[in-house]
């Protein structure tokens, strides 16, 4: 039996189910508390900080030995920013850490923090992305006049000539409001000073312990080996926990300074206002079509609000650059003219959030396809059929190489499952009864599992990509795999165990995956960008193949057979077509304890492998059927369908779980969640009551179908699946709402499409008509 492809239950679940998980706050019980005093204003000059008598409070003046965070991107007109660990002389966003209180307990630290008085001269802030681009806007950083931190453009040579021949031009103005990834476990940092060695262990809820260690060691000027970073159980990350923040740096610094054990456990309000935000984007996109409704050229101006500072190590280029290179998505396009900008404002810094830019750019492209379909009098499926890429490999206008996918097939299948024709009849009847139903499609592809070749093309000074796996079989025949990836809820351990189990002919329960500890794992980049199963999975397969060769050799010796005729399965080694076998546990013991038989002193059963591919593209079609209550503006999702292609499914149960979670975040993005700033830069959505994450009641049953394209771009033939769920829903839902509101002439271009926004559009449309 093959383990790959089985929906086996996850290996770590019993621990979490029994409440025996070890999250950072659990480990930190009893540590001294750190409480940050945060800026209450968006922009201002610090005139003074008054500290209560006898309290232990640190400010910028005390930490002059710490360098600021300075992420670097090459080219792209990038302007670096220096983010201080504690605000120095000025504050640049609401929530910026200004001072740090240390006390015996959390409640004491909170009490003291409330007595720390900040005297700040308030200045006018730049908040909105478009306002910040105006010539007279307040300047967030002196070195960036115009408030642009990263800017690049591209225009294909034939663009103007082709544009001039357009039969139709469709334009959209897409506004995506600000999101917070909102993991259920907030951020935290528990730094423990070791009195015997002088080392510090930092327990912290992050997705990438190795790069976090590098970043901290760099700004503290300490050897990396003196810092151990451990990501224990991590309660969700979604991108928010992959960038280095001042709070982690301070925790390590103060643990060394006081030679103590300290902990910062973020509260929910801090998380909502001062953890990273994302998706605050404004796209203006024009598409030219020929008389056959074929897209011939695309022009785009993309503005991304990147907040007050660039983020380490990915930089604030992540959203604007991704938006530019991937805008055309699954559609064939040869002429492209685009300008993209990362705009700095006095708001919380931006970092990746599951899907990075693609939920927004997919919304842009898919709105265009729907508007164009109307223009040509085609149905949305036919419109897309004429434009989706069907021949692979395909080289995009921005230089990406798409491996085989099922862009058209996923849409065709979706229309079939949802019975598009039948739906149109139902829709017509419902309208006669004054009920407004709509259907929306969203086809997209997603670059996943990419290594250094792809990241290097982005000009990042720190180029992530490869993953390494160190594998060892112990004398009892159990396997340990140490991985650089850092799973935090994805169930990666289970998937990797399945891959390794197949190579070695043993059960997954005999395999232990070690992750999230810089002392115990090879340097790696962590878990993000739909990469871990492809990369750590690929490296696991390679390391296990080497291990299998070793075992075959030993078995060959013991069974007196040529190693290439040995086969490992069901826990035993046997010679193909022969009687007699030997237990794999016996091979393991022999490898360690009778090594003299096999040439002696060899490397035992330890292997290491690195995998670093260019990447592969997954794809999907998401579709929604909605009903809009035109009186209240409320949207009910009647059906939500995902037809996706992530290649071979290593564990289908886990894949479906990833899709479910992603889709619900995407639905939240489309309809509910928004971080709202007022014009002074104050956040109006500082609690979960105001941010409105969906509960079970808001979520429909998610239907899923899989297509399985076998790609050569991934050695396990698995493609990444982590982010896809989040990418499709905004476009599918907004297209569906717009379809429902056709009789009113309402088209939606802004997310989240909240009831008040929908009501306002209906009202405006009615006014225009009369």
């Amino acid at each position: 039996m093959k383990w790959v492809g089985q929906p086996i239950p996850r290996l770590r679940d019993p621990v979490l189910l029994k409440g025996k998980g070890r999250f950072t706050a659990d480990i930190a019980v009893g540590a001294m508390a750190i409480r940050f005093v945060r800026s209450p204003v968006a922009r201002g000059t610090i005139c003074g900080i008054e500290i209560p008598e006898g309290a232990v409070v640190f400010t910028a003046a005390d930490i002059t030995d710490i360098k600021p965070l300075r992420p670097i991107l090459h080219g792209r007109n990038y302007v670096p920013t220096d983010q201080p660990i504690l605000a120095n002389k000025r504050v640049t966003y609401v929530g910026e850490p200004v001072a740090a209180v240390i006390a015996a307990t959390q409640s004491e630290a909170e009490d003291i923090a409330e007595q720390v008085m900040l005297d700040i001269d308030v200045l006018d802030p730049a908040i909105d992305v478009d306002e910040a681009l105006k010539p007279d806007a307040p300047r967030v950083h002196d070195q960036a006049p115009g408030n642009v931190l990263v800017e690049t453009s591209l225009k294909t040579p034939g663009f103007d000539a082709v544009w001039a021949k357009a039969a139709q031009v469709v334009e959209v103005d897409i506004r995506s409001r600000r999101q917070n990834a909102m993991p259920m476990e907030t951020r935290n940092a528990h730094a423990v000073f070791d009195h015997s060695t002088g080392r510090v262990t930092l327990y912290t809820s992050v997705q990438n312990p190795h790069p976090i260690r590098t970043g901290i060691a760099d700004v503290l000027g300490m050897p990396e080996t003196d810092l151990r970073v451990v990501a224990p159980d991590v309660g969700g990350g979604f991108g928010q926990k992959m960038a280095l923040v001042p709070e982690y740096v301070f925790a390590v610094w103060v643990a060394r300074k006081l030679e103590a054990s300290v902990a910062w456990i973020e509260d929910r309000n801090e998380n909502l206002i001062a953890s990273f935000h994302s998706r605050d984007q404004h796209h203006t996109v024009k598409a030219a079509f020929d008389e056959n409704a074929k897209l011939i050229a695309l022009e785009a101006d993309l503005r991304c609000n990147v907040g007050a500072y660039s983020n380490y190590p990915i930089t604030c280029g992540v959203e604007p650059l991704m938006a530019m290179s991937e805008l055309p998505g699954p559609y064939d396009l040869r002429e492209y003219s685009v300008r993209t900008r990362g705009v700095t404002t006095n708001t919380c810094p931006m970092a990746p959030y599951r899907g990075v830019s693609r939920p927004v750019l997919t919304l842009s492209m898919e709105r265009i396809m729907n508007l164009a379909a109307d223009r040509f009098g085609l149905d949305p499926v036919e419109m897309r059929r004429r434009n989706l890429i069907t021949e692979f490999p395909y080289k995009t206008v921005t230089g990406s190489l798409y491996d085989a996918g099922t862009y058209w097939e996923s849409l065709e299948r979706s229309a079939e499952v949802l019975d598009l024709k039948g739906f149109r009849e139902r829709q017509k009847k419902a309208r006669e009864e004054g009920r407004y139903l709509g259907i929306g499609f969203s086809v997209f592809n997603e670059r996943s599992g990419y290594g250094t070749p792809t990241f290097a093309a982005r000009g990042m000074e720190i180029t992530p990509g490869y993953e390494t796996v160190e594998m060892a079989m112990d004398p009892s025949g159990y396997v340990i795999a140490r991985i650089g990836a850092s799973p935090h809820g994805q169930g990666l351990e289970t998937g990797l165990s399945q891959i390794i189990a197949d190579e070695l002919g043993i059960e997954p329960s005999r395999i232990r995956i070690i992750s999230g500890d810089t002392d115990a794992t090879p340097y790696g980049w962590g878990t993000f960008a739909s990469r871990s199963l492809v990369l750590a999975g690929g490296a696991s397969k390679l390391a296990a193949e080497q291990m299998r060769e070793r075992l075959n050799k030993i078995a060959g010796h013991l069974l007196q057979a040529p190693p290439e005729e040995i086969e490992l399965a069901g826990g035993v080694a046997r010679r193909r077509g022969h009687e007699g076998s030997v237990e794999i546990t016996a091979l393991a013991r022999a490898a360690h304890h009778q090594s003299q038989l096999f040439g002696g002193g060899g490397p035992g059963l330890t292997t290491i492998a690195t995998y670093d591919p260019a990447g592969t593209f997954s794809n999907a079609c998401h579709s929604a059927i909605v009903e809009v209550d035109i009186e209240t503006g409320h949207v009910k999702i009647e059906r939500f369908l995902v037809v996706e292609d992530a290649g071979i499914l290593i564990n289908p149960m886990i894949v479906d779980g990833q899709i479910h979670g992603g889709v619900v975040q995407g639905i939240a993005n489309a309809l509910f969640e928004e971080i709202i700033y007022d014009e002074t830069g104050n956040i109006l959505t500082g609690s979960l009551m105001d941010f409105i994450p969906p509960t079970m009641s808001e979520v429909p049953t998610i239907e899923i179908e899989h297509l399985e394209t076998l790609t050569d771009a991934s050695i396990t033939k698995a493609k990444g699946i982590g982010e896809g769920g989040t990418i499709g829903p905004p476009a599918a839902i907004i297209n569906a709402i717009s379809d429902a509101l056709k009789p009113f002439g309402v088209e939606i271009f802004e997310i989240p499409a909240t009831p008040p926004r929908i009501r306002q559009l209906i009202r405006e449309a009615a006014k225009e008509k009369s």
Binding site: G19, P183, D233, F238, L688
Partner: protein, 158 residues
């Protein structure tokens, strides 16, 4: 600082004696004084339900109560569900149906579901969704949590 009070909590059938400030939240006392860190804190203001425990068999948000208010009550937390290595039917159902990913919201959902199913073993689907909507999960999209609780509803029928 205010004077500390003597409080005795009964959690999962075990007595814990402690001295706490009157403002000490029940969730903190359970986590720190009792050392039962399975009960999690996701918001500390009563919205997310990660801190849900059973108090005299009813689901409550332990971040909204003071430790002193729980004196004399029987408290149950996630640590009390399994019997040794044998998982409680609700835990088994979450495992079988992939009702958890990161596991942070899980203890709260397990206690909420246990309380709901114990009180109303024949609860209908709609009412069940309504009840489970008191808690937030960011990973699972709720699909498999609902599946798991429905499966447990069958298992737990007396």
């Amino acid at each position: 600082m205010t004077e500390k009070l003597d409080v005795t909590l009964s959690v999962n059938g075990k007595r814990y004696e402690m001295k706490v400030e009157p403002r000490r939240m029940l969730a903190d006392a359970i986590r720190e004084e009792c050392g039962l860190t399975g009960t999690h804190l996701g918001c500390e203001h009563g919205v997310c339900g990660a801190c849900t425990i059973l108090m005299d068999d009813k689901p409550v948000r332990s971040c909204l109560m003071f430790a002193v208010q729980a004196e004399g009550a029987e408290l149950r937390t996630v640590e009390g569900l399994a019997k040794g290595n044998e998982l409680h039917p609700i835990q088994q159902a979450f495992w079988d149906h992939h009702g958890l990913q990161c596991g942070f919201c899980t203890p709260g959902f397990l206690m909420l579901a246990t309380g709901v199913l114990e009180q109303n073993p024949n609860i209908g689907d709609e009412e069940l969704v309504h009840a489970l909507s008191s808690n937030l999960c960011r990973c699972t999209g709720y699909q498999n949590i609902l599946k798991a609780v429905k499966a447990a509803r069958e298992e737990m029928k007396p």
